[in-house]
Amino acid sequence: MKNFIKLFSILVLFFFTVTQSQSAEKVDYLKTDWSFKGLFGKFDRGSLQRGYQVYTEVCASCHSMKYLSYRNLGEKGGPEFSQAEVKAIAASFEVIDGPNADGEMFERPAKLSDKFVMPYDNVKAAQAANGGAYPPDMSVLVKARGGGVDYIYSLLQGYEDAPSGMTLDEGVHYNKYMYGNKIRMSAPLSDDLIEYGDGTKATVEQMSKDVTTFLMWAAEPHLETRHQMGFKAIIYLIILTILVYFSMKKIWSRVESEV
């Protein structure tokens, strides 16, 4: 039994480290405290709301978020804007609907059930407006990058002058954390670029943290439920395992064999 547990845990550990080393390339990303990590990790509501503000005022001019709906902004575990706020947010966007009774398409203010309005009509239009590069959809962006939130957080703050000897093409920028260090996106953030509604000082660092938190939620809207349920499930399993262990001991005590 002891041997078994030892070997099994070594196996699981090995398995874990191999997959870890496989997924994360060795880059030292900037570190910050993410409130949503850990067994009880939750999103910081204020950060999510500010993050939405950064997204909508800065990122959304190029980056779509096509899998999110306006209603998500008011749902539990997210930024949790009030119902009135979410309706107001939705109504500030125009969507094309139709055809109406006359067979015409028409514009109307967005409703809660509408998906986030896309900045471009299609991929080609997005590429044409961005020097050939397609600004990736941000719905699951943090899960689609090896370093996850740390990578996005670092990238936003990783703009520097190119080292001497490195020539950059027109419209290409140097970024310490970008794969190959060359990025088409110009530095999107600068201090006091926006004015936070809650009075928080809008430094590049603060905005990076807020918008990354928002992107994490966008990619994993059920993260809080997952953490809460996971804790309960594991506690339940541990208690049941202990009970079953003693039942097993009792049953096996009838034969002269170890379990």
């Binding site: 191999v18 080393s21 997924s23 067994l39 804790f231 034969v255």
Partner: protein, 420 residues
């Protein structure tokens, strides 16, 4: 195979059982005499059954919401993750369940290798097991294609392209597999169909696997034939049921940890990027459980020979009962085999690691040595070892672990009297 005839006590039960002996079957399963010295490595059979059922149940539920179309698959997965009630939970269980399934099957296979469970009279159980393992790999590979992310698409492209190595008809076969001239919608729909079919084939084979097991009965850590039922056995229920249940619960704790706290760690980030035939990912890597074979494939410079090597690496297991010439089953009594066994374990782990690394320089060299050793183990070491190895004395029965007069026997006797 319980020796006694079973008769239901109730009249209705008897009437039914005379027409369809389901109750006899149930009685056989609960009474099934099992060696009482099975250790926890034997609990993985039950764990694997749990894994298969979990995959089927979660898979059926996912299929109710998934759309097998190149333009909609990725979106429908996001729909499952966001809008379907507990869709995220079902999908994470299914995705991590595949990894857990393979973790368990590898332990199950290596348990068999250590205790010689593949040897006579259990060759058919073993061969059915290898077929199940092959089908599992096919199912897992096709399942990974379904979310239609970048790794799905490019993984499918790389693996299906392997068939082009077949001389003359290779290209034709690849086109036929794809249903077109590249991996596209027809590929996705047929992969979905097959991914749905294979688990039920596996289920059928599992029934045969267990049926074949119930003819000779379980092997055991001592590796000797035992009389059934006897002092050496316990009925399957409640003894083995509760023990398997206990082990399963421990396994579920590990499983739950992955599902709830790091659900994406075993997957590749690129699979959250929608498939794009115009952009090739920097590194195309398969899921972790296929990495050793991927390393073997890449360590051979010739494409055709690489494919042959990879397939042989799996198929060689099917003839293992005849490659291993030793009459002794358990490695406990084979001091040399025991060492070679652990070298093989290390070799496979090294191959797995190399499969995740780029195939160049030192990595490639190590992968080549490890590949060569893998085949050496099965083709040379095992056959020779059976003739050369000096094995330890084998006990007569489980209750008397070692033949005549040794200290072990004295200890066992001592313990028995204490227990009584």
């Amino acid at each position: 195979m319980s020796d006694h005839e079973y008769t239901p006590t109730s009249k209705v039960g008897k009437w039914f059982n005379d027409r369809l002996p389901l109750l006899t079957l149930a009685n056989h399963l609960t009474d099934y005499p099992t060696p009482k010295n099975l250790n926890y490595w034997w609990t993985f059979g039950g764990i694997l059954t749990f894994c298969l059922i979990t995959q089927i149940v979660t898979g059926l539920t996912l299929a109710m919401h998934y759309i097998a179309h190149a333009d909609m698959a990725f979106e429908s997965v996001e729909h499952i993750m966001r809008d379907v009630n507990y869709g995220w939970l079902i999908r994470y269980i299914h995705a991590n369940g595949a990894s857990m399934f393979f973790l368990a099957v590898y332990i199950h296979i290596f348990r068999s290798l250590f205790y010689g469970s593949y040897k006579s009279p259990r060759e058919i159980i073993w061969i059915i097991g290898i077929i199940i393992y092959l089908l599992m790999m096919a199912a897992a590979f096709m399942g990974y294609v379904l979310p239609w992310g970048q790794m799905s698409f490019w993984g499918a492209t790389v693996i299906t392209n392997l068939f082009s190595a077949i001389p003359l008809v290779g290209e034709g076969i690849v086109t036929w597999l794809w249903g077109g001239y590249s991996v596209d919608n027809p590929t996705l729909t047929r992969f979905f169909t097959l991914h749905y079919l294979i688990p039920f084939l596996i289920l059928g084979l599992v029934v045969l696997h267990i049926w074949a097991l119930h003819v000779p009965g379980n092997n055991n850590p001592v590796g000797i034939d035992i009389k059934k039922p006897s002092k050496d056995t316990v009925p399957f229920h409640p003894y083995i049921v509760i023990k398997d249940g206990f082990a399963l619960l421990m396994f579920m704790i590990v499983f739950a940890f992955f599902v709830f706290y790091s659900p994406n760690i075993l997957g590749h980030a690129d699979n959250y990027i929608e498939a794009n035939p115009m952009v090739t990912p920097a590194h195309i890597v398969p899921e972790w459980y296929l990495l050793p074979f991927y390393a073997i494939l890449r360590s051979v410079p010739d494409k055709l020979l690489g494919v042959v090597a990879m397939l042989s690496a799996i198929l060689i297991l099917a003839v293992l009962p005849w490659l291993d010439t030793s009459k002794i089953r358990s490695a406990v009594f084979r001091p040399l085999y025991k060492q070679f066994y652990w070298i093989l374990v290390a070799d496979v782990l090294i191959l797995g690691y190399m499969g995740a690394m780029p195939a160049e320089g030192l990595y490639l060299l190590i992968a080549r040595v490890a590949t060569a050793y893998y085949f050496l183990h099965f083709l040379v070491i095992l056959p020779v070892l059976g003739f050369k190895e000096k094995t330890l004395p084998i006990p007569l029965s489980i209750t008397e672990p070692v033949l005549g007069g040794s200290t072990n026997l004295a200890m066992a006797k001592n313990k028995e009297s204490l227990d009584n």
